[in-house]
Amino acid sequence: MTEIQTGLCIVFLLLAPLAGAGVALVNTGLGRSRNAAHAMMSSLCVLAVASCAYFVFGRAFQGFGGLPSHSLSIGGKAWDWIGAQPLFFIGLPANGSPALLAAWMGMIAAGFTGLIPLGSGSDRWRLSAVCISTALLAGWTFPLFAHWAWGGGWLAQLGTNFGLGQGYLDPGGAGAIHVTGGLTALAITWIIGARRGKYTSDGMPMAIPGHDAVMVLFGCFVAFTGWLGLNCAGAILFAGIESSQLPLIAINTTLSAAGGALAAAIVTRLRYGKPDASLTANGWIGGLVASSAAAVYLVPATAVLVGLLAGVLVAFTVEILDLRLEIDDPGGSISVHAIAGIWGVLAVGLFGQQAQAGQFLAQVVGVATLIGFVLPLTYGLNWLLNRVLRQRVGIEGEHQGMDLHELGAGAYPEFMTHSDDFMQR
């Protein structure tokens, strides 16, 4: 890396945490008002726990391309499956090297991954369980897949080992961050179940709207800034992009988000008569998620197309999950991060400038790994955790609201309460 690339990467990584801040605002706004402080407190705790877990274990497992790692030899090929770095960042050179910058980005990405399940566990996921689940995600699940995709692991080597294009490509983390986080969100939703009152006794879903649309939409603006940083930093670190190509990545990121938001607004306008603010916000984030893998490899016209399709997918899958599959995901995390992320990963093979059969197959193998390995792994870990420590708050806490029950104070104490559901009992 040149000095200019290093300097730019540092600037982009300084912006990147805003992506997590934006998603935290979106998650909080889409939850109930009586759980708002708890949602933001959980987000902060997730960042803290994820940073520490990544510091202790995560970076050691993730490693970095060219650094020592563990490989298995199967069929005459080396399958690089986990990093072999010391714990606690020991031996990490403090000289602005790519390995140091990748560790910094990994720490931010681990925190971001941990924020995603908060959207689906909203209004009923206990803070202590959130922290332990995040430690498992940031200390083991995320670094393992990040090693395969970013750290010179077997997915990244699909090109050299099996002639599949340039190997699995995902510099901004559509798979490593978003699909991993989105599938964990799915696992959490299955394990803790739906919110009380979400489904009637005959299985009909009830609408429980978010409490602050302004917070949700402002979160989209904040996330957009952070995403520009994350996509550009990932492009420099994991795709070796020259500085002169960075404006195109920023343009593609913007166009993909725009396409996602417009598609969701149009779909909801056509189906419900008026554009839906929360689904439009989800479409915007879905477009950003899809751009994470693809922005480096697209031209602006295909970036819009990728964003448009992400927005359509998000708008429809939110409804399918809610109405048909009885999956209560208040923040839309599964649709926005898992579905749009999978679409973004595949889009690299379909529309990328180096698109070819081999490259598409490499992306398909990445998706198969996320669904076939990461989902059972993250479900199993959270299922075991739930056996030891009940992850869902009790009935009393859900009635009272997570703010009063777990934190002892509400987010909006000056607000009038309208029902004794909100009173401390």
């Binding site: 006794s201 599959l325 009885e326 198969a368 790994t369 076939g372 989902l375 059972p376 479900y379």
Partner: protein, 63 residues
């Protein structure tokens, strides 16, 4: 049923890995990778249906 679904998910992934390591580049490898994805899709459907049944039981209308 849920366990069977997760087992199928893992099986599908292993089928994909086996296709990569045992088959030469070409249509057969492509086909086996897609078949692996199909097995994963079947596993996912089973897991989803298992959780829907569990949720219904919790709501009390399968008693």
């Amino acid at each position: 049923m849920k366990t069977a679904g997760f087992f199928l998910l893992l099986t599908g992934w292993l089928l994909v890995l086996a296709a990569l390591s045992m088959l030469p580049a070409g249509a057969a490898r492509y086909g086996f990778v897609i078949a692996g994805l199909g097995v994963e899709a079947a596993g996912l459907v089973i897991v989803v249906r298992a959780h829907m049944t569990l949720a219904d039981r919790k709501a009390g209308f399968l008693k």
